[in-house]
C-alpha cells in the first residue's frame, strides 16, 4: 500500500485495492477527557476507535455491529468527516479524505452521505420537508430554483412520499416518514456511499421492515454502497453482504454474512449470536444461551491484551490463560474474507457453545 501521494489541493491520489470504494486503514479516533474550565487539562483519553481497518467494495453492503461504546458510530462519523481521525487513513474513491480542503472536499464529500438514527433530531424542525431536501442541492449549487423543486419532488417520489409532503414540517410526520425524508436528503447529491447509522433502530417493526425494503430498492436503483451500522444483528444480517463485529473500538471478527452466521470464530460473536432472541418459541425452548458476565469495561481504560478477556466465556473455560491478558490478538485471516482476532480459534472451533449457536440457527429450523 503506497502512502498518500502528492498532497495537492484537490486531494492526494492513493492507491486502492481493486474495487474498494472505501478503505479505512488503521483508523484511530481518540477523545481527550478534560477537567477544569479555565485551565483545561487532559486527564485521560477515550479510545473510541483504536486501529480499525475496513474495505468496502462498490455496490456492497457492509454491516458494522457492536454494542454501545464499541465505536461503530464514531467510525461512521469519521468516514463522513464529522470527526477528525487521530491517526490512520480514510480513502474514498481513491482519495485520502484527510488531504481534502475547500471546493475539492465539497465535491468528494457530496458522494459520501449519512443517514442518522433519529430523524427527528437530524431534521431542522423549522424547515419544511421540501426545504430540507433542497438544502444540499442549494449548498452545492445544483440547478435553478425550478429545477431544484422538480428534483425535490422526484426525490420524494423515490422514497415513496407524495409530492405534497414538501410543504409539511418534521413534527407533522411519523417516524417512518421522517426517516424517508432523511433518505431523500441523503440521496439528493447522488452519493455513491451512504453511511446508515442505526437508520432503522428507532422504528416500530412493521415500519422498520418498510424502510429496510426501501433501502434495498434504492441500492439497486442507484447503485449505492452502504455502510450499515446497527446493534441489531438480525437486521444487519438481513441487509449486509459482509459484517464486521466491533468490540471496544476494534474489529474482533469480519466475514461474509453467511460465514459469520454459520461459522463464527470469535467468542464475542458467538455470545452475540446466542444472545439475540429469536422470534420462534420452539427454537427458543431448545437453545442454550451464553450469558456473558459483567459489563463492557470503560473505553477510557481498556483492559490489556485482548479487550474481551474480562468477559470471555472461553477464557474462563480454558482456565484463564495468561496470553489473553498479556498479548493483544491480531486480526488474522483464517479463510478467504474471514478474519478473527483471537488466540484460541482452534478451541473456539471445538467448543460445544459454538455448535449450540449453530444448531439453534438455520440448520435446525429449516
Amino acid at each position: 500500500m503506497s502512502d498518500a501521494g502528492g498532497r495537492g489541493g484537490d486531494g492526494g491520489r492513493a492507491q486502492t485495492t481493486d474495487g474498494a470504494l472505501l478503505e479505512v486503514q488503521d483508523l484511530r479516533v481518540h477523545f481527550p477527557i478534560t477537567r477544569g474550565v479555565v485551565f483545561r487539562k487532559t486527564i485521560g483519553t477515550v479510545r473510541a476507535v483504536d486501529g480499525v481497518t475496513l474495505d468496502i467494495r462498490r455496490g456492497e453492503t457492509v454491516g458494522l455491529v457492536g454494542e454501545s461504546g464499541s465505536g461503530k458510530t464514531t467510525i461512521g462519523r469519521a468516514i463522513v468527516r464529522l470527526y477528525a481521525p487521530t491517526s490512520g487513513r480514510v480513502v474514498f474513491e481513491g482519495t485520502d479524505l484527510a488531504s481534502l480542503k475547500g471546493a475539492g472536499a465539497k465535491q468528494v464529500t457530496a458522494r459520501l452521505q449519512m443517514v442518522f438514527q433519529d430523524p427527528y433530531s437530524s431534521l431542522d424542525p423549522r424547515m419544511s420537508v421540501g426545504k430540507c431536501i433542497d438544502e444540499p442541492l442549494k449548498v452545492h449549487r445544483l440547478g435553478t430554483k425550478a429545477e431544484r423543486r422538480a428534483r425535490v419532488e422526484e426525490l420524494l417520489g423515490t422514497v415513496g412520499l407524495p409530492a405534497r409532503m414538501a410543504t409539511r414540517y418534521p413534527h407533522e410526520l411519523s417516524g417512518g416518514q421522517r426517516q424517508r425524508v432523511g433518505l431523500a436528503r441523503a440521496l439528493a447529491l447522488r452519493p455513491s456511499l451512504v453511511v446508515a447509522d442505526e437508520a432503522v433502530s428507532a422504528l416500530d417493526v412493521s415500519i422498520q421492515a418498510q424502510i429496510i425494503n426501501l433501502l434495498q430498492r434504492l441500492q439497486r436503483e442507484f447503485d449505492l454502497t452502504y455502510l450499515f451500522i446497527a446493534h441489531d444483528l438480525a437486521v444487519v444480517r438481513h441487509i449486509s453482504d459482509r459484517i464486521a463485529v466491533l468490540y471496544m473500538g476494534q474489529v474482533v471478527e469480519s466475514a461474509p454474512t453467511d460465514v459469520l452466521h454459520d461459522d463464527p470464530l470469535h467468542p464475542y460473536t458467538i455470545a452475540l449470536l446466542s444472545a439475540i432472541p429469536r422470534p420462534d418459541p420452539e427454537i427458543e425452548a431448545r437453545r442454550t444461551h451464553i450469558v456473558l458476565t459483567g459489563d463492557p469495561p470503560s473505553p477510557a481504560a481498556p483492559p490489556p491484551g485482548c479487550r474481551f478477556h474480562t468477559r470471555c466465556w472461553l477464557r474462563q473455560k480454558l482456565g484463564n490463560p495468561e496470553r489473553c491478558e498479556a498479548e493483544p490478538p491480531p486480526l488474522a485471516s483464517v479463510a478467504r474474507g474471514h478474519a478473527v482476532a483471537c488466540h484460541f480459534t482452534d478451541e473456539v472451533r471445538a467448543s460445544p457453545e459454538r455448535a449450540a449457536v449453530r444448531v439453534g440457527g438455520s440448520s435446525a429450523s429449516a
Binding site: L161, I207, A234, P277, R278, P279, V291, P296, S365
Partner: protein
C-alpha cells in the same frame, strides 16, 4: 380462566384529555394473568400496552389520563374506584413494576441503599440495620457484586444493566404476586439484555410471582412468555399460547408483524412489511383500526370492530389455552406462508364512501 385469574382486566377503556382533543388510548381491553403465569403483551408504539399496565398500577398521569370504563380485578377486588390508600398498600407489596429506563425511575440524589431500604420500611416494620442487611441481600440476589459497598453509591455510578438489576431487586423486594415489566431490556445492549432477562425470569419463577411482560420484541416474547396478547391501536387483536401464536397466527396484524421481523435464519428473503401506518388515536375508532392496512379486510371491517372470540379447533401445543382473535376474516394456515389472501377473486373491501374523503397520508 376468569374465575381463578390473579389479575383480570375487563373491557378496559382509557382516555387521555389533551388540548387537541380526546386520545383513545385503550379501547376495551380484556386480559387475564393467572397466579405465577408469564404473559406477554406485545405491540408497537401507540398500541396501548404501556397505558394498560399503568392503569393496572393506578399510575395513569392525572388529570389527563382516566379510566373511562371497565374493571381491573386483582384477586377479585376491583382496583378502579379503590381508595388511594388501599392502592398504595397494594403497589410494591402485591403488584410492582419495572420500567424501561431505570435512570429515570431511580432518584438520582439518593443512594441505592436508601432507595431499596425505603421500600422495605414503607411496607414492613423493620429496623434500619435489618433493612440494610436485607437490601444487601437483595442486591446480591440480582447479581450485583460487593453488594454492601454498593449500597452507599448513587444511581449514576451504575451501568444501565446494573441499574435495571437494582430496579428488579426493588420490585421483587416484598415478594409481590404480580410484576409488570414494561420493556425492561429495551434500553440495554444485547448481551446485557440476555443477562437481565434471565434474571427476571429466574427470580419470578423462584418466587412464584406472575409476570406481565410488555415488549415490542417478538424474540423476547418467544423466549419468555407462556401466553401472548397482541395489541394494536388500543385493542387486543389476538391472544394465544406463545407456541400457538407463532405457529398459527390468525389475525392479519399478527401475521404482518411476524413477517416484518428479519429472521436471522432466512437472510435474503424479502421482508413483507405491513403497508401504511397506525391510525390516529385522536379519532374515535370506527370499525377495526387495522382495516386501512389490512389485505384481508371485508366490508364489515370498516364499520364494526369484531369482539375477541375463540378461533380454530384448539391449540397446537395441547396447553389448553384458548386461541382468540378479533377478526371478521381470519388468515388461514396456507395464507400465513404467502402473507396474502389466497382465496380466488378476493379483493380487500374498499372503504365506505363516507370514509373515502379522509384519504390516507401515503406510506409511513
Amino acid at each position: 380462566m376468569t374465575g381463578e385469574a390473579l389479575l383480570s382486566v375487563r373491557d378496559l377503556v382509557v382516555r387521555f384529555d389533551t388540548p387537541q382533543g380526546e386520545v383513545h388510548a385503550v379501547n376495551g381491553v380484556s386480559l387475564d394473568v393467572g397466579a405465577g403465569e408469564t404473559v406477554g403483551l406485545v405491540g408497537e408504539s401507540g398500541s396501548g400496552k404501556s397505558v394498560t399496565s399503568l392503569a393496572v398500577m393506578g399510575l395513569l398521569p392525572a388529570p389527563a389520563g382516566r379510566v373511562a370504563s371497565g374493571q381491573i380485578l386483582f384477586d377479585g377486588t376491583d382496583l378502579i374506584g379503590s381508595p388511594e390508600r388501599d392502592l398504595r398498600r397494594l403497589r410494591g407489596k402485591d403488584i410492582s413494576m419495572v420500567f424501561q429506563d431505570p435512570m429515570s425511575s431511580l432518584n438520582p440524589v439518593i443512594t441505592i441503599g436508601e432507595q431499596v431500604t425505603e421500600i422495605l420500611r414503607a411496607h414492613e416494620q423493620v429496623g434500619k440495620a435489618d433493612a440494610r442487611a436485607r437490601a444487601a441481600d437483595l442486591l446480591r440476589q440480582v447479581g450485583i457484586p460487593n453488594a454492601e459497598d454498593q449500597l452507599v453509591r448513587f444511581p449514576h455510578q451504575f451501568s444501565g444493566g446494573m441499574r435495571q438489576r437494582v430496579m428488579i431487586a426493588m420490585a421483587l423486594a416484598l415478594h409481590p404476586r404480580l410484576l409488570i415489566a414494561d420493556e425492561p431490556t429495551t434500553a440495554l445492549d444485547v448481551t446485557i439484555q440476555a443477562q437481565v432477562l434471565e434474571l427476571l425470569v429466574g427470580l419470578t419463577r423462584d418466587l412464584g410471582t406472575a409476570l406481565l411482560l410488555i415488549s415490542h420484541d417478538l424474540g423476547i416474547m418467544a423466549r419468555v412468555a407462556r401466553r401472548i396478547a397482541v395489541m394494536y391501536a388500543g385493542f387486543v387483536m389476538e391472544t394465544a399460547s406463545t407456541v400457538e401464536l407463532f405457529a398459527n397466527p390468525r389475525h392479519p396484524y399478527t401475521v404482518g408483524l411476524l413477517n416484518s421481523v428479519p429472521a436471522i435464519d432466512d437472510r435474503g428473503k424479502a421482508l413483507r412489511p405491513i403497508e401504511g401506518a397506525p391510525p390516529d388515536l385522536e379519532e374515535p375508532p370506527v370499525g377495526c383500526p387495522f382495516a386501512p392496512r389490512c389485505a384481508w379486510r371485508v366490508s364489515s371491517c370498516w364499520t364494526e370492530m369484531p369482539p375477541l372470540r375463540p378461533i380454530g379447533e384448539g391449540t397446537a401445543d395441547g396447553s389448553g389455552l384458548e386461541h382468540e382473535a378479533a377478526c371478521h376474516n381470519p388468515v388461514t394456515a396456507e395464507e400465513v406462508r404467502g402473507a396474502a389472501p389466497l382465496r380466488p377473486g378476493f379483493v380487500p373491501a374498499p372503504p365506505p364512501a363516507a370514509a373515502a374523503t379522509a384519504s390516507p397520508e401515503g406510506p409511513a
